[in-house]
């Protein structure tokens, strides 16, 4: 008998298990498939810092949340329609995220006494009334996977590792999704090193799918129609991948060799991994002995006339600050990627936060103006890091590109850009000997010449000591120092001349402007959309350029009675906006290592409407 299929607009699924259970893998696969079949998607991976915390423990729970929809969406969802819990700990950690009457699939094989005790359950929640408000589907995932793989020659422990694909097979059935894309991925993934794992994983996937089809346990499946997108070619992309491609594109379009210096650090390492694959683009990746060396090689490369880039997270940025200052005074192009995580100190490396903004502004000795740009969503990393490269090259300055864990690891559909439409990046190397002075500036941009070693007749010396205007020779002259400080500030300020006019979403003037930056974009937009549609005079501005601010920002802010600034910190942009524009902006702040929920922000915003 054909089972019932129900049309729904959107769904949120959360896969959770031990950090070795493969929740990230199947979450990513479900995302890929959902994107390919045309949904809008947003994801939130949430995993512990430990590679494998003790099995079954609460600390070891790893989760992957996916929101897919037939409408445009901006967030991974506040709460879930489906929770797949591979063990009691995963259930305990995530149950509060499941909606009432939500679907709960648990691996009942893992609900024995030991695991219950590890999760802090005195009694088995499958047997008492803990779960009465949910649709509970206890499935013997381990047993069923083992049975499906009976005829393979895989040993028992390896067979058990395939149970995530059994679970994925179930979810694909539940949402009427094809298995083809996952099957193709499995074949590619294991083809070279572990071809013997291809068949078992596919068997497990199919078994999970068949299980739902065959058992009476699952009576209804769901369908989420494709969303409306701007016409074009799409792929699904995570923020860090988007950053990698943006850097490759900037190198390619500028004709500058990319030299990326880095030291492994969560959550920036993926950029190093990604770029290391593109040697055929002439890209050099150098895994250095520490964060300082990583920025050092990028500066050395910049001096030579290459595109020097370094990437890290907050703790690494602290170590790089002296070298960034050197690039600032030497006026060399340099791009510094800071993929923020929750701090201070080592903080919470696998959690998200936006608390490095003031560090980026002020974390260097002396007067040290550095342009700062922030990406607001996974796909925006491409454009923003590309723009950071363009500014660095044009103005001969270090530029800080800010991303954050939430968008770095989150993924969404990306309208693949046409290479020909990418902005030009022109190195304009100095070759003319006559009239060459190392610090003689372009009249418009105040950029100094980029004269690379190897160019005859342009031999010159630069360094971290204060420069004499024009000649760049060492100078301790009092007036000159002040002049140079002002010139360096003015140079950064002039970038504002080419920042596009500020776009205000929603009301163009009125009661409330919500001003944001970085990864809070999706949540803010979702709330403002709702309120604007309800008829409120509410607008949303999201800043890519944080230093300098767009030149029309002050005027935009004045068009609203109140300005609200939601941030995942204690009020960094808030301080900057207050001091720059002397307005009584109000902060909405959260510092929990987690993004805002839509409902949280909505209740805060509603108070001001």
């Amino acid at each position: 008998m054909r089972k019932q299929v129900e049309q729904i607009q959107a769904a949120t699924v959360l896969f959770a298990g031990d950090s070795g259970d493969g929740s990230q893998t199947i979450g990513t696969q479900m995302t890929e498939t959902s994107a390919i079949v045309g949904n809008d998607v947003a994801t939130l991976p949430d995993y512990p810092a430990e590679i494998k915390a003790p099995a079954g423990s609460l600390a070891g729970v790893s989760g992957f949340q996916l929101h897919f929809s037939s409408e445009t969406i901006h967030t991974p969802g506040d709460s879930c329609d489906v929770l797949v819990a591979m063990n009691p700990a995963a259930l305990k950690v995530n149950l509060h995220k499941l909606k009432d009457n939500g679907i709960l699939i648990v691996n009942s094989d893992n609900f024995a006494r030991k695991n219950l005790r590890l999760a802090g359950y005195a009694d088995n929640p499958l047997e008492d009334d803990t779960l009465t408000k949910y649709q509970v589907f206890p499935v013997e995932l381990t047993t069923l996977t083992r049975r499906a793989l009976e005829d393979t020659d895989l040993d028992m422990s390896k067979r058990d590792l395939c149970k995530n694909f059994f679970a994925l097979g179930m979810i694909l059935w539940l949402y009427n999704r094809p298995m083809d894309y996952t099957i193709r991925w499995v074949k590619t993934k294991f083809s070279t090193k572990n071809p013997h794992l291809i068949e078992p994983n596919i068997l497990a996937l199919r078994a999970g799918n068949t299980y739902c089809e065959a058992t009476e346990q699952f009576a209804i499946s769901y369908e989420v129609k494709p969303a409306e997108f701007t016409p074009g070619k799409y792929r699904n992309i995570a923020g860090n991948t988007s950053t990698v491609l943006g850097l490759v594109a900037a190198s390619h379009q500028s004709g500058l060799q990319l030299v990326y210096g880095s030291y492994p650090i969560t959550p920036a390492s993926d950029i190093l991994h990604g770029l290391a694959n593109y040697r055929n683009f002439g890209i050099v990746t150098m895994q250095m002995e520490d964060e300082i060396a990583a920025v050092g090689v990028a500066i050395g490369a910049a001096f030579s006339g290459s595109l020097g880039v370094t990437g890290s997270s907050g703790p690494g940025l602290a170590l790089k600050s002296e070298a960034i200052n050197l690039a600032m005074i030497a006026e060399l192009p340099l791009v510094v990627c800071n993929i923020q995580r929750a701090g201070p100190s080592t903080g919470m490396p696998t959690k998200t936060e936006q608390a490095d903004l003031l560090q980026m502004f002020y974390g260097r000795n002396g007067e040290s103006p550095v342009p700062i740009l922030a990406a607001c969503r996974p796909t925006d990393c491409f454009d923003t890091v590309y723009e950071a490269c363009r500014i660095a090259v044009k103005y001969r300055t270090p530029v800080i590109f800010l991303s954050e864990l939430y968008i770095a690891l989150g993924a969404e559909p990306w309208l693949i850009p046409d290479v020909d439409t990418l902005p030009k990046i022109e190195p304009n190397f100095q070759t003319e000997i006559n009239g060459f002075e190392p610090y003689l500036r372009d009249a418009d941009t105040l950029a100094r010449p980029w004269a690379k070693p190897g160019t005859p007749g342009l031999e010159h010396r630069i360094g971290g000591l204060e420069k004499s205007d024009i000649t760049g020779n060492v100078s301790y002259d009092a007036e000159n120092h002040e002049k140079m400080v002002n010139i360096r500030a003015e140079k950064v300020q002039r970038i504002a001349n080419e920042i596009p006019p500020t776009e205000v979403y929603g009301a163009q003037e009125g009661d409330l402007l919500v001003l944001g930056w970085g990864g809070t974009f999706g949540v803010i937009r979702t709330v403002v959309e709702t309120k604007f549609e309800e008829g409120c005079a509410i607008g949303h501005v999201h800043l890519r350029y944080l230093n300098p601010f767009p030149s029309d920002l002050g005027e935009v802010l004045k068009r609203f009675k109140q300005v609200l600034i939601p941030e995942l910190n204690t009020g960094h942009l808030l301080q900057l906006v207050r001091s720059e524009y002397l307005i009584e902006a109000i902060g909405v702040n959260k510092v929990q290592g987690q993004p805002f929920h839509v409902y949280e922000l909505e209740s805060k915003i509603s108070k001001y409407l």
């Binding site: 701007t230 699904n236 040697r279 060396a293 050395g300």
Partner: protein
């Protein structure tokens, strides 16, 4: 010595003289400083290297010695404390055709920049490192350095310093340096020849230069540099030659139970250590290096080790060429469109 010049550097620029390497900046070291001699020898030897000055880059860190690039009419970068090796590495990687020189001191290379120093040596970039060792912090006015002898009385150690000094040669050998040498500020000819050998060596070349700070540590090396004492306190290393020293070459060095020992040279001196700078194995070089920690032994001057190994920049260049051969020159359009894609009409 093998000729190692890569094709990008035009050979033979015979018209240059030392004056071509003098920048227009006044040299501002204390009168009498050993740095003057090192600068003079470097300027003198540069024309003999056969490369145009635009292909030469001096990179320094912080300290008295690190002002050096300002005085050379080449490309130069006076960077930050201890980090010159990192900037030099990035520069050399991005343009392997450049002749890259790191100028550093004992504090810069061995204290604040110790980590970069050892990693530079292990990566074996074709970079030349000149470490001016004066066993003191000069620019900050006289604190003990990581090469100062234990118990040294300075402003920061009025009761004597507590640390044992680094032996820069031993440290470099331990880090896998492929060219390790020592020279003297007050032996111009030797210094010039060692700088030239360092240049000719393909790989990271490390030269420790005993340099006199006449203000804060005057005479620290006089027993190795001054006429009356030099012969008895130094042994000049020559590849393939026995280790002999003294005014009349009357003393030699032999091994006794794995310890170097001074012996009198006789007609039948088979027992003397014969220097082999090309030995892959570092045992001999390590013995020689440790002699300067032994009060009764002369300090070896010259090339401790010179071996050929692959350079980082060459291996990276090969990887890039191989990747292009395997996958074809990178195509941005294809890269952006890679993976599972779908079209929305």
């Amino acid at each position: 010595m093998k000729n190692k010049k890569s094709s990008g550097i035009p050979l033979g620029v015979p018209t240059l003289t030392q004056k071509d390497f003098m920048s227009d900046q006044d040299v501002r070291w204390c009168p009498g400083c050993g740095d003057y001699s090192i600068l003079a020898q470097t300027r003198r030897i540069m024309p003999e290297l056969g490369i145009p000055q635009e292909n030469i880059v001096f990179i320094s860190g912080i300290g008295c010695s690190s002002r050096f690039p300002y005085y050379m009419n080449t490309y130069g970068f006076h960077t930050i404390h201890g980090r010159a090796p990192t900037i030099a590495s990035g520069l050399k990687m991005a343009n392997p055709d450049l002749s890259v020189w790191v100028i550093t001191g004992d504090g810069d290379a061995l204290s604040i920049g110790g980590n970069h120093f050892i990693h530079l040596l292990r990566r074996n970039f074709d970079i030349n490192v000149l470490l001016f060792n004066n066993q003191i912090y000069g620019l900050t006015k006289g604190q003990y350095s990581p090469t100062s002898e234990q118990g040294k009385n300075t402003k920061s150690s009025p009761f004597g310093s507590l640390e044992s000094p680094f032996n820069p040669i031993s440290l470099a050998l331990a880090a896998g340096a492929t060219f390790v040498a020592r020279s003297l500020d007050r032996d111009p000819e030797h210094l010039r020849s060692i700088i030239k050998y360092a240049f000719e060596h393909k790989g990271t070349s490390f030269i420790e230069i005993y340099q006199n700070c006449n203000i804060f540590n005057d005479g620290a090396f006089f027993q190795y540099t001054e006429k009356e004492t030099k012969a008895d306190n130094t042994v000049f290393l020559e590849h393939g030659e026995p280790l002999v020293f003294g005014k009349e070459d009357e003393k030699g060095i032999k091994l006794n139970n794995f310890q170097p020992e001074v012996t009198t040279v006789t007609n039948d001196s088979d027992e003397l250590i014969v220097h082999d700078q090309y030995a892959e194995n570092t045992t001999l070089a390590n013995f020689l290096a440790r002699m300067s920690d032994m009060p009764e032994m002369p300090h070896p001057i010259g090339i401790f080790r010179s071996v050929q190994q692959n350079c980082y920049e060459d291996m990276m260049t090969d990887q890039i060429a191989f990747a292009k051969q395997q996958r074809g020159e990178g195509n941005l359009e294809e890269l952006l469109n890679a993976g599972d894609t779908w079209v929305v009409e």
